[in-house]
């Protein structure tokens, strides 16, 4: 290293950024997280749009089938809801509140 390079080294070293800069690292991490979130939201919006479009296109085919299924499954669904409510009452926090469980 000659005299000029040595002199330049000293002068350049005067305005080096800090070796560790938590604020800068945090800003980068925050911006990266924001960018990831935006990308995830864009994909989600795209998937929702595609699903909505598919439902719209297939609605004439799906509607009668859904009506039949709803009629057939209504008693089963009601039974499941009652069973779930009873289970929650006996085993869950609601049961604790009523003094059904200790």
């Amino acid at each position: 290293m000659d005299a000029l390079e040595a002199r330049l080294k000293v002068l350049f070293a005067e305005d080096e950024p800090p070796a560790r800069d938590a604020a800068f690292a945090a800003r980068v991490a925050e911006a990266a997280a924001r960018r990831r979130l935006r990308a995830d939201l864009a994909w989600l919006a795209l998937a929702c749009g595609a699903a909505a479009a598919a439902l719209f296109v297939f609605a004439p085919v799906l509607a009668p089938a859904v009506e039949v299924l709803a009629r057939e499954l209504a008693p089963v669904a009601a039974g499941l809801v009652l069973a779930a409510a009873a289970t929650a009452l006996v085993t869950g926090r609601f049961g604790l509140g009523l003094g059904l469980r200790s």
Partner: protein, 179 residues
């Protein structure tokens, strides 16, 4: 220059999606990248914005980094292209170049006459020359590494560095031993 062992492991983890590994890479290389961009574009606030943007681009494209490539050169290359774009867009170049010295005086600590002379000499260099000087004379890049980072032919980088050295030597009043 090959990436060292720790960098290599962190790059592999970042390629697999580890945000923590990438944060470590940011921590390890932010100083070199920000120092290079500060010297290349002259505006510290812009340099830090560009450095942040460079890391975001790197995070998205880390899978494209060749196994034998130096992460530091790769980052400086991305940063340099962003710097070129920023300085060339919307008439910013002229304004930034003109503001170079005054901006630096407002953000940094009091500086010696020698330091001011160096800053003025750097500001007078064309951007490509300044970038080559910042890499080879301030950051210890070899000419080949600088050529890779700047996307310029080796001979061009050597000539940029030689001319830059001569200008800086003249500004500092030091004899250029290689002239």
């Amino acid at each position: 220059m090959k990436p060292d062992g720790l960098d290599e492991a962190l790059i592999r983890a970042a390629c697999d999606g580890s945000a923590e590994a990438f944060a470590r890479l940011v921590e390890r290389h932010q100083q070199a990248l920000r120092a290079f961009l500060r010297r290349a574009c002259g505006d510290w606030a812009l340099a830090d914005d560009l450095a942040q943007d460079t890391f975001l681009t790197a995070w998205e494209r880390i899978g494209e980094l060749r196994g034998d490539a130096s992460l530091r050169s790769w980052l400086c290359g991305i940063g340099y292209r962003k710097c070129l774009g920023a300085l060339r867009s919307a008439g910013r170049a002229r304004r930034r170049e003109a503001d170079y010295a005054s901006m630096r005086e407002t953000v940094a600590s009091p500086r010696s006459d020698e330091r001011l002379a160096l800053e003025r000499a750097l500001a007078d260099l064309p951007l490509e020359q300044r970038a080559a000087v910042a890499l080879c004379l301030a950051a210890d890049f070899s000419h080949a590494e600088a050529a890779e980072a700047l996307g310029a032919p080796l001979g061009t980088v050597k000539s940029h560095v030689a001319r830059g050295r001569a200008r800086l030597a003249q500004a500092l009043g030091v004899a250029d031993g290689r002239a």
